[in-house]
Structure formats: structure tokens, C-alpha cells
């Protein structure tokens, strides 16, 4: 059986499940972010639910509006805080970081477990071989209350990535490339398992980016092999042998940096094809790319250089732990000296609930995972996506660079 089938069979006490089966399964952990907790609190209130299935296995994160930007959002946050405190669950206050980043740090994702999160990027948990599922407010409310969800067992597909990409190419570029070349329905509603020498050699930080962007490919969930010295386990991807229609082959040999242009993460080209595009605002952060290696990539590029005077450059570390390590390593010093603004950990920039909100007509270069029209809070802005390396070079030049300039 594929990993998703093994985990669902184990959780439902059945020997065998297959794609298409509809079943009810227990879950191991549930977590919620502040944007959806008001709706979940409303469901609890309307149904007079006053407790969760197990307070130790439920976490509520405050990450989308770390510095509340207006009265309405501040009031919703107050309601969410009261809700979280009344339930006695694990609460992660504003400033601790992005739920999917902190979830890995604090052990919410464990191999072979089922994790339900009220945010589509919960699929990041596949980096630890958890069946990690993003769901909507009703599903999450029921999971919190009863410890169970309904599932349709997804079909499994594999992506085998071979080859060694260029020196300035990161996992973000590989994911953008794949998004650019596959049909939108290729991996839709599948469980996506990753294999091949490129994936096996990833750092944990980069593996997180791969898992995180599985939802951009339309996948329901994803699984990566254990990387960076973490113990392999029986939930590691096991692709069919040889050439098989369920296995998608991708060769990334010598691949250069990639960029997605407005307004779709699947509208992708090599960096040289859009080099020269003027950029007003560079954002480095988000649950896709806010980890220490991303901050380090940005600082390596910006060391001894200045952010272009035409560019507003914001760097948002993914968690308090990453922020502290970046401080100790001197990275924050480098970034601030270069002219970048370093903000508290959080993820509100992606959806315009924290800032900086781009001006109308502005072109943003961002390390986020989505650039749909209106992301970041302004439908009149245009968002380009790429890695932290490309983003930092863009900040220096005030335009998207050519690959040869990214020395």
C-alpha cells in the first residue's frame, strides 16, 4: 500500500484501504490559525461545545496578524484568544511564528500520524512523514471536538527528481518549475510522494519548501523521505520500480533559478526570461521560505551591499527560534545594515492582514507560495515568486536579475 493507505488503514483498524474509499478516521493532532479560529469559535458557541477531544493534542496559533493592523482584526483576535484559553489547549501567542514552521519545531508532525490543520499549507507536515491535511473550519471544528474526520482515500502519485541543479537554484525553483510544466490536474487530489537523488539530498529546510508547496500542485497530502540525518522509517516513499505511469520523472540537472509571474504560481519561466522587470517591494518570508537557510541566503547576498533605494525590502523569519538563531549568527545585523526591514515572525503579509501591503500598481518579488491577484491585500499589485536567493539579488538591483548577475 502507498503511505497514505498504510496510515489510514492503521488508524481505522482495517487491513486494507484503497483509493476512493470513504472512511471515518481518528486523528492525532489538530491545529488552528488565527484567521479561522473566529469561525471555529462560532461553531463551538452555536453548538454549545465547551471542550475538545484532548486539549494536549490541539494547538491554536496566532500568526496571521502578529501586530493587529486595525480594530476589527484586533477584536477577532481577542475572541480567538478567549476561545483558546477557555478550551485549555496549547496556545502559541503572536510572535512565536508561523504555525507550519513551529509545528515542525515543536513535534506536532510525527511519522505515521494524522494531523489536521485549519490552513491549506498544513501539508508541510509531509516532511516528517505525517499525513498532514489542510481542512476548512467545519472539518477542523469536528476534528477538535470529536478527534475524527471523514476522508476519501486519495490516489498516490510519485515524483522522482534526479540531477543536480545549478548553484543558485533552490528547492523553491524546482517546485516552481514543476508547477510550470505539469497540467493543473496532474496531481490534483492525490497523495504526492517524492523520491530520487535530488529529494534525498535536500536539507530539512528545503524539504519543508517541497512539502509546503504540494498544495500548489493540487495535492491533498504529501510525503518526503527523511532528510538531513533524520532516521528513515516505514512511512518513507517507496515508488514502484522502474518506469511506471504513476511516477512523474523530473530532471533538474543544471536547472537555473525560476520565477512565477503574476497572477499564478503556475505561470513560470527561467529568471533570464523576466530579468530587467523593475521591482518596488521584495518580501522574504512565508511558510514556504522563512527558515534559517532562507535568511542565510538573503544575508549572504546582501552582506556588504545595499538594498536599492527604490526597493522596500521586508524579511520575516518563520519562527522565534529562527529569528534568535539568525540574530546569533549575525544575519539580522547584515540584513538591517543593508537597508532591509526585519519584522517579527508571522505570516500576515501573504494575505494582507499584517503588512506591508503593496501600493496599487506596485510590482512585488516574493518568496511566498502564492501570487493570486489580491494576495498581500491589494488586487492592483502584481506579485512575482522566486527563491530567497533571487529575491535578495532583486532587492539589490531594484529589478529581477539575470542569472549571471547572481554571483
Amino acid at each position: 500500500m502507498a503511505i497514505v493507505e498504510t496510515i489510514l488503514a492503521e488508524h481505522t483498524g482495517t487491513k486494507h484501504v484503497q483509493p476512493g474509499d470513504m472512511l471515518i478516521t481518528d486523528v492525532d493532532r489538530v491545529y488552528v490559525q488565527d484567521g479561522n479560529s473566529p469561525t471555529i469559535a462560532k461553531i463551538f458557541g452555536e453548538n454549545e461545545w465547551d471542550r475538545v477531544f484532548d486539549p494536549k493534542r490541539v494547538d491554536i496559533f496566532f500568526d496571521h496578524s502578529v501586530l493587529a493592523p486595525d480594530v476589527r482584526i484586533a477584536d477577532r483576535l481577542r475572541e480567538a484568544e478567549a476561545f483558546a484559553d477557555a478550551l485549555g489547549v496549547n496556545v502559541h501567542r503572536a510572535g512565536e511564528g508561523i504555525s507550519h514552521v513551529v509545528a515542525l519545531e515543536c513535534g506536532i508532525y510525527e511519522p505515521g500520524t494524522i494531523v489536521v490543520g485549519a490552513d491549506s499549507h498544513t501539508c508541510t507536515g509531509g516532511v516528517s512523514q505525517a499525513l498532514a491535511l489542510g481542512m476548512g473550519a467545519s472539518d477542523v471544528a469536528v476534528a477538535m471536538r470529536t478527534g475524527s474526520v471523514w476522508m476519501r482515500v486519495p490516489e498516490t502519485r510519485w515524483v522522482r527528481v534526479r540531477g543536480k541543479p545549478g548553484e543558485r537554484t533552490r528547492a523553491k525553483d524546482v517546485l516552481l518549475r514543476l508547477l510550470g510544466i505539469v497540467k493543473r490536474t496532474e496531481f490534483l487530489s492525490t497523495s504526492l510522494e517524492w523520491c530520487g537523488e535530488w529529494v534525498e539530498g535536500l536539507t530539512l529546510d528545503e524539504a519543508c519548501t517541497v512539502a509546503n508547496m504540494a498544495v500548489e500542485l493540487g495535492a491533498t497530502c504529501t510525503f518526503l523521505p527523511s532528510t538531513e540525518g533524520r532516521e528513515p522509517n516505514r512511512y518513507s516513499p517507496k515508488p514502484p520500480n522502474g518506469s511506471h505511469p504513476a511516477v512523474y520523472e523530473l530532471d533538474v540537472s543544471e536547472m537555473g533559478p525560476q520565477v512565477a509571474r503574476p497572477h499564478s504560481p503556475a505561470d513560470v519561466m527561467g529568471v533570464d526570461e523576466c530579468a530587467g522587470q523593475p521591482i518596488d517591494y521584495v518580501f522574504i518570508g512565508s511558510c514556504a521560505n522563512s527558515r534559517l537557510s532562507d535568511i542565510r541566503d538573503a544575508a549572504t547576498v546582501l552582506k556588504g551591499k545595499s538594498v536599492s533605494r527604490k526597493v522596500h525590502c521586508v524579511v520575516t523569519p518563520g519562527s522565534r527560534d529562527i529569528f534568535v538563531r539568525a540574530l546569533r549568527e549575525g544575519l539580522v545585523d547584515v540584513l538591517v545594515q543593508s537597508g532591509a526591514i526585519v519584522t517579527p515572525p508571522g505570516c500576515g503579509a501573504c494575505v494582507g492582514t499584517q503588512g506591508s501591503i503593496p501600493a496599487s500598481g506596485a510590482h512585488v518579488f516574493s518568496t511566498m507560495n502564492r501570487n493570486f491577484q489580491g494576495r498581500m491585500g491589494n488586487p492592483s499589485a502584481s506579485i512575482w515568486l522566486g527563491s530567497a536567493v533571487t529575491a535578495a539579488h532583486t532587492a539589490v538591483f531594484g529589478r529581477i536579475p539575470f542569472e549571471r548577475e547572481m554571483a
Binding site: 471515518i24 491549506s120 467545519s138 471523514w150 490534483l188 489580491g374
Partner: protein, 167 residues
């Protein structure tokens, strides 16, 4: 319950993200679906055209609802009295959210359906008809657990009625 009659077709072209349906930031401001529904499709207003009329069936041409887990997009569609979504493919989370809130999301090839068409849908036999044009479309069998969600009025009413998912 299993028959939907006289739904007015409202077409939307191309891949539609959940952000296109309802921009992210509003759910941080209010939990009121009626208020949220005033922001439906506002970012792609030019592509989408005039506001939705009550009793609509949204008809998409590609993948509908990619990306976000935002159930509020579906509760806003419900508040605008959207009765069904028809699309060749759906984002998985949005698809769940539709059925969880009692809004049928049906997978079918929608070519031939046009703005303003009045259609009837039989969820059990899997047939959609346009009686005026005399055309019919068939769609895949809707699994029984989804029809049950619909009968109960959605996931939360079902859990309330049966005391859990296994009742």
C-alpha cells in the same frame, strides 16, 4: 433534497483560486457570511461581471477553488444563495468544504452550458438537464456519504444530530 430545479447558470472562466472566490483578508475581520458575500469574486470582478443573483449554479470551465482552506468562501457563496457548483475539477479542500456546508459540488464537463441557462439537477441519477434547450449532461455518481451530508444540512448539523461522525 436530491432534486435541484430552476437554477440559473452563472459561468466563470479558467482556473479559479479560492482567493478569486473570496479574498483572504475579510475572514480576519468578520465571521458573518452575509457580509463576506459582498466581497465574492471582487478581485476578478472584471472577468466575473455583474453580481450573483439568488438561485444560481456557478459553472466553471477548469479547476474551481485551488489553494486556500478558506471555508468562508463557501459560506459566502451559500449566503449569496448559490445552490450548486459545476466544474470539470475542484480543489480538494474547497470540494470538501462545499459538501460540508451542504452545497453540492458536481464534477462534469460543463461545455455547452451558458450564462442565463435554467437547469434542473438530479443528484441521485447524476443527470443535469436544460429543459428549454432540451439538452442533458451526466455526471459521476455522488458517493452516499456526501448525499447524507446534504440531507443533514451539512457536517455540523450531522454531527449534532448523530452525536459524532460515526453515528
Amino acid at each position: 433534497m436530491n432534486n435541484l430545479q430552476g437554477l440559473r447558470v452563472r459561468c466563470v472562466q479558467g482556473v479559479i483560486s479560492t482567493d478569486d472566490i473570496l479574498p483572504a483578508r475579510y475572514k480576519h475581520m468578520t465571521t458573518n457570511p452575509r457580509e463576506l458575500s459582498t466581497h465574492l469574486f471582487e478581485n476578478i470582478g472584471a472577468r466575473f461581471g455583474a453580481p450573483l443573483t439568488p438561485g444560481s449554479a456557478i459553472v466553471a470551465t477548469d479547476v474551481f477553488g485551488v489553494g486556500s482552506s478558506r471555508e468562508q468562501a463557501v459560506s459566502a457563496l451559500r449566503a449569496a444563495d448559490v445552490r450548486a457548483i459545476l466544474s470539470p475539477a475542484f480543489g480538494e479542500i474547497l470540494y470538501r468544504n462545499c459538501w460540508n456546508l451542504g452545497l453540492p459540488a458536481l464534477k462534469l464537463d460543463t461545455s455547452g452550458l451558458e450564462d442565463g441557462d435554467l437547469v434542473d439537477i438530479d443528484l441521485v441519477t447524476g443527470v443535469l438537464r436544460d429543459p428549454l434547450k432540451g439538452s442533458a449532461w451526466s455526471f459521476a455518481h455522488v458517493p452516499d456519504p456526501l448525499l447524507r451530508l446534504l440531507r443533514c444540512g451539512g457536517l455540523i448539523p450531522m454531527v449534532k444530530e448523530f452525536g459524532g461522525l460515526r453515528g
